[in-house]
């Protein structure tokens, strides 16, 4: 049983599913933020964590970083580096939500849209779940990685 669970837990196909899911989430979330930069800047500011002089810059650059990471994750390029960035972003989001939950700030998550339900512990749980999926991808993803497929072909040149 333990072996079965372990096998399931380390299944690369599950990692592939997680990878596609997380990648899709980031691409989807970034598309809105890119189109509504001002609103996203307000959302960032509502967390009251980022200095006011850096809010706009963060609202401009972060969605593009997210969409690039999502796309690379879907394609399977530099998966571990991308996972590192995504995990860092998710941790940052989770910490920000956690802080504002402690502040009892009446703000929405702003993850996908400006008008959303206020942040809650479910939001924390969701982000933690996404972190877990990303970690699974980090450690167990090995199929349909574009760069490995390409480099694997080159590696056969050696033999």
């Amino acid at each position: 049983m333990t072996q079965v669970l372990k096998r399931l837990a380390t299944n690369p196909w599950a990692a592939l599913a997680f990878r596609l899911y997380i990648g899709g989430v980031f691409v989807f979330a970034a598309m809105y933020k890119i189109n509504y930069t001002a609103e996203f800047a307000t959302t960032i500011a509502s967390y009251q964590i980022v200095p006011y002089w850096a809010v706009n810059a963060m609202a401009i650059f972060m969605p593009w970083t997210e969409i690039i990471c999502g796309a690379l994750l879907i394609l399977g390029i530099r998966v571990r580096s991308v996972c590192t960035i995504i995990i860092a972003l998710l941790i940052m989001f989770t910490v920000a939500i956690f802080i504002n939950l402690l502040r009892d700030a009446p703000i929405s998550c702003g993850c996908f849209h400006t008008v959303e339900d206020p942040i809650s512990w479910w939001t924390i749980l969701r982000d933690v779940t996404w972190i877990g999926m990303t970690l699974h991808v980090y450690f167990f993803d090995s199929v349909f990685q574009a760069d490995q497929l390409f480099l694997g072909k080159l590696k056969r040149v050696q033999s």
């Binding site: 307000t42 006011y52 969605p63 593009w64 990471c69 590192t84 960035i85 490995q148 694997g152």
Partner: protein, 577 residues
């Protein structure tokens, strides 16, 4: 020895008889004896051979003494000659058989030094009883000539039966001495003649040998000159031409040719000198080649083997050669190369002598050796040329191989680099790389900046509240004072924060809904009435933004209370929650 003693016998009765002979008669006898000696000397001096001398001596000695017979035995070397006069046939034959024994008795055969060294006469009646001489022999004379020549003479009794008187013995002794001298002279002359003959013969032989040596020297010199001249040549055609000149000069011919044919029709080396203008063409033609090589077929078993030559002595065969040849030789250089040499139009008549034929064959042998060397040199040159060409090809191949090896090395290095790169990339793909992270963030910054710059809904990179001139600020007490003067307190934060907690009496004017709320609540307000704006956090300076908006709309006294609701509450003033 008894006979030698006989020589010393006392005078016989003969001397006694002399006393009785008158003086004149004695003188006459002396004269007669002297004349006899003279005649003997004269007669014997005319003889030329010892045998003739002996034969002449017997009647000369017997006549004046009146002897009944006489004989002489002469031995020269192994030859024994017997001469006799007055002996009967039977006695002569018997004596002839034992003549050699008689000589051996005085001169034993094989003894080099005989005791008799001078002519000796033995006389006496005792000699008549000796078995070695005929009966009645009264005197014996022995004469040594030389180490191989001896003579023994014997004389019979006088016709009168009387013994020899002393003067007669002296006469006989003188005659024997004369004979000895004549015999030695004859022997000497005979020896000289024999030596002369031998010398003449030796001289003739020497002359013949000298002539032979001269011929041999000429042949050797010719061979030497030919070898010397041919050895400096390395071209087969040049060798043939030079050899032809040598042959023509040596054997006095005015025309000649030499041809050497190889294994196939295209290979032939020929030389020709003479009157026939088309000689070379005929030698080089197929017919000429077949005519020469046909001689080898004709010779069959006599065909010269490798390195040998043969003289064609058949005139019909010589006529079958491509060019005229009074003398022709065919030769075989090796299994592939055969040829022939022909000479014609001699300056002197007659065939070649055997020696000249041998010289010709020797010269041909030298010619074949030189020709073989020339062929070998030509083969070596061909091989060297081929080797040089192969060396060039080999060098080209080596260059190509070297280039290919360098190319392979470069490709190998490139492969190693690519493999190392791939391996590194594979390793890098498996682990997070700060470079990748940095590149992704950088790409996000670049793309975000470009998109925001080009998008109509783009925002300022840095908020206005950070760059513009800060509005006038007031403290909590100032706010309270202004409020007592009728100032309006404005909460610039989002409505959610306003609803959560705000200063008592403040109105909500969020930045995001400024136009709408302002038109509803403050558009009718006197611009001179002071406005105190508050509301900021770490991420937004709402108060500054709204204060600028209000100033822009014409309000003259707009103040910013930086402390906000928290400071207000901490100061103990009233808030609404």
């Amino acid at each position: 020895m008894s006979k030698m003693k006989t020589q010393n016998d006392p005078p016989t009765s003969g001397s006694e008889n002399a006393v009785d002979i008158p003086q004149s008669a004695c003188m006459d006898r002396r004269i007669l004896h002297i004349q006899t000696l003279y005649e003997a000397t004269r007669e014997l001096s005319g003889t030329t051979t010892p045998l003739e001398t002996l034969r002449t001596f017997l009647p000369i000695a017997m006549g004046p003494l009146g002897l009944t017979f006489g004989f002489g035995v002469m031995r020269r070397g192994l030859a024994v000659h017997v001469e006799s006069l007055g002996l009967g046939t039977a006695t002569k034959d018997q004596f002839t058989e034992q003549a050699e024994a008689l000589i051996d008795k005085f001169f034993p055969h094989g003894e080099q030094n005989s005791s008799i060294s001078s002519p000796t006469l033995l006389a006496g009646s005792h000699l008549s009883h000796s078995a070695d001489v005929p009966a009645d022999t009264g005197a014996i004379a022995v004469i040594p000539l030389d180490k191989d020549g001896h003579v023994v003479l014997g004389f019979g009794p006088k016709l009168t039966g009387e013994p020899l008187a002393d003067d007669e013995t002296d006469l006989l002794n003188g005659l024997v001495i004369t004979l000895s001298t004549a015999l030695k002279k004859a022997c000497g002359e005979q020896d000289i003649k024999a030596r002369n003959r031998r010398l003449r013969t030796a001289l003739e032989q020497t002359q013949e040998a000298r002539v032979a040596l001269d011929r041999r020297a000429f042949q050797l010199h010719t061979l030497y000159e030919a070898t010397l001249e041919l050895s400096g040549l390395h071209e087969p055609v040049a060798v043939c031409d030079a050899f032809l000149l040598i042959l023509m000069g040596t054997f006095s011919y005015t025309s000649g040719w030499a041809a050497l044919y190889g294994p196939n029709d295209a290979r032939a080396d020929v030389a020709h000198r003479g009157l026939e203008p088309d000689g070379l063409d005929r030698l080089l033609s197929r017919e000429g080649r077949d005519m020469v090589l046909g001689r080898f077929v004709e010779l069959k078993d006599r065909m010269p083997h490798q390195g040998q030559s043969a003289l064609i002595d058949d005139e019909t065969s010589r006529a079958s050669l491509p060019l005229a040849a009074d003398v022709a030789i065919v030769f075989t250089l090796d299994n592939d190369w055969r040829g022939a040499v022909g000479l014609s139009a001699p300056l002197t008549e007659g065939d070649l002598s055997t020696e000249m034929e041998q010289l010709l064959l020797s010269l041909v042998s030298t010619f074949m050796v030189t020709l073989g060397n020339a062929k070998h040199i030509q083969l070596i040159q061909d091989l060297n040329s081929d080797l040089a060409a192969r060396n060039v090809d080999l060098q080209n191949t080596l260059d190509a191989l070297t280039s290919a090896r360098n190319e392979i090395s470069l490709l190998t290095e490139a492969k190693e680099a690519i493999v190392g790169l791939v391996r590194g990339e594979l390793e890098r793909v498996r682990r997070p790389a700060w470079l990748d992270v940095l590149l992704i963030i950088l790409a996000g910054i670049v793309l975000g900046g470009l998109f925001n710059y080009s998008s109509p809904s783009g925002i300022d990179l840095v908020p206005h509240s950070f760059l513009g001139t800060p509005p006038e600020t007031v403290a909590a007490e100032g706010v309270l004072s202004l409020a007592s003067e009728g100032a309006v307190i404005v909460d610039a934060r989002p409505a959610e924060f306003y609803q959560q907690k705000h200063i008592k009496g403040a109105i909500s004017l969020p930045k995001d809904m400024f136009g709408f709320v302002y038109s509803m609540k403050l558009s009718e307000l006197d611009p001179a009435i002071p406005l105190v704006v508050y509301g900021r956090n770490i991420s937004r300076h709402y108060d500054v933004d709204v204060a600028r908006e209000l100033s822009g709309l014409g309000h003259e006294n707009v103040f910013v209370f930086e402390g906000g609701v928290d400071v207000w509450e901490e100061a103990g003033y009233e808030v609404n929650q």
